[in-house]
Amino acid sequence: MDVVVKIAAIACLAALIAGIIKRGSAEMSLLFELAAVFAIVAIAVSLAAPIIEVIDKAKVMSGISQSVISPVIKCVFIAIIARIASDMCKGAGQAAMANAVELSGAIGAVYVALPLVSTLLDMLGDLL
């Protein structure tokens, strides 16, 4: 819980400072915003380490194969990162760039999901 409070405090502070910097230099404000976003993500990820241990334990117990679950996890990360980047572009007023980032996120996700599709096709091939 402390981590969430910490993150909330950092985020609010960073937002204020970004507002101040914007008055003098909009580009610096954007860069500062980027740095703040990734700092928050880093803190959140460090919290996730014990969660990962539990998930790994569950993976081993249930016997789910890595090749089935890892595309799904990768898609989750692609979604989060693409969304952050696209929002940043929108914040800078570059709507076209934002859309391009989202599109490449979608394509990347489908690319990552391809092993799943080929596993499925293999199984269907065995059935038929």
Partner: protein, 363 residues
């Protein structure tokens, strides 16, 4: 928990029909006992052991059947829980982003990946379930081909020559029609249903949703049509007398309506037949019923457990991972339900065929 009802009522139903004297007629010489026992698949033979069609005491076999079911139940449950846990792992990962509303206008690829993963996990299960359903129906058919001629011969010996022959021919024709309908139409439809459900949930297209509903409806209509025609034949051929046996018909109605998907529609038909069928007096009939229970018990148990657990998983998944993932899991459980419906219908057909022939034998 309709399933528990169905399963609990089946033995009770069976006992109801066994009250009254078991009249052993002079049919002994006509019956090829060994041939009939051999036609039953090996797991069922384990249960029946040396219970022959002429035994008047059926309690031993019933007791063995119940023990067998109890013994296997834990194993079946454990197997299904394994697949359910894997699916829940995927559901958990998908739930990480489902609350975030990341894909307002665009393509939800996390949902796509999740649905593909669940399909990869479940598809071999679905395939083995459909194969198991087909094999069970085939076992019932093989058994009926062994038992019914015997009953028809016995009926002929008891003096009802033409009608016995006709009834046997008609009921075995219906069993054949059912089996071929199942293997060439219904089970391929199930594969199509699975594919459609996967596509519709992965991509989220409304038209695919409509296709899914259509296939399910068609399957239910086919099964209902088969049962209605069979029922009509049995009433028209005079097997059903005017006497009404309210308790038995109510029991049958409740038991049959517990079958998923098709239960409600055929329960009325079922009770109509039973209300006129009366009580089975012959030991052969009792044997036939015990044998059907033995053949169907394990497959139906497996299917029931799978159906229930997958439905439970779907309802767990809905609040945490979003609508489409839970729809996919629900679709898989519907496939299991439809297979159960088919197998249940096969057992019910066999049951009524036996009744109609017994009616001829005992007058």
């Amino acid at each position: 928990m309709r399933w528990i009802r169905f399963f609990a009522l089946l033995p009770v139903l069976f006992c109801f029909f066994c009250t009254g004297a078991f009249a052993v007629s002079s049919l002994e010489d006509e019956i090829d006992t060994k041939g009939i026992l051999d036609s039953v698949p090996s797991e069922a033979q384990e249960v029946l052991q040396d219970y022959s069609p002429l035994d008047t005491e059926s309690d031993g076999a019933i007791g063995r059947l119940l023990d067998y079911i109890k013994g296997k139940a834990g194993e079946v449950f454990a197997q299904t829980i394994g697949s359910v846990v894997k699916i829940l792992a995927v559901v958990l990962v998908c739930s990480l982003v489902s609350g975030m509303n990341l894909f307002k206008g665009g393509f939800d690829y996390v949902n796509l990946a999740g649905c593909l993963a669940i399909a990869a996990l479940a598809i071999s299960d679905v395939n083995s379930v459909i194969r198991m359903g087909a094999k069970t129906l085939e076992d019932i058919s093989v058994f009926s081909k062994a038992l019914l001629p015997t009953l028809a011969t016995a009926a002929t010996a008891a003096g009802a020559t033409t009608s016995a022959g006709i009834k046997y021919a008609a009921t075995s024709m219906f069993m054949d029609v059912l089996i071929s309908a199942a293997t060439s139409v219904v089970f391929p439809l199930m594969y199509a249903y699975t594919a459609c459900v996967l596509a519709s949930c992965a991509i989220g297209d409304k038209r695919l949703d409509a296709a899914v509903k259509l296939i399910k409806k068609v399957t239910v209509i086919i099964i209902t049509a088969l049962v209605s025609v069979f029922t009509f034949y049995l009433s028209a051929s005079g097997v059903v007398a005017a006497s009404t046996d309210a308790a038995a018909s109510k029991l049958v109605k409740t038991a049959v309506s517990a079958l998923p998907v098709v239960g409600r529609t055929i329960s009325d038909a079922a009770s109509t037949i039973v209300s006129g069928a009366g009580i089975i007096r012959s030991s052969i009939g009792v044997f036939g019923l015990v044998a059907i229970l033995a053949i169907c018990a394990l497959p139906i148990l497996r299917l029931a457990v799978k159906y229930l657990l997958f439905k439970a998983t779907a309802s767990i998944a809905e609040p945490i991972a979003g609508e489409r993932v839970s729809k996919l899991i629900d679709g898989i459980s519907s496939v299991y339900g439809m297979v159960v419906g088919m197998v249940g219908v096969g057992a019910v057909f066999m049951f009524f065929s036996i009744i109609s022939l017994i009616k001829v034998v005992s007058g």
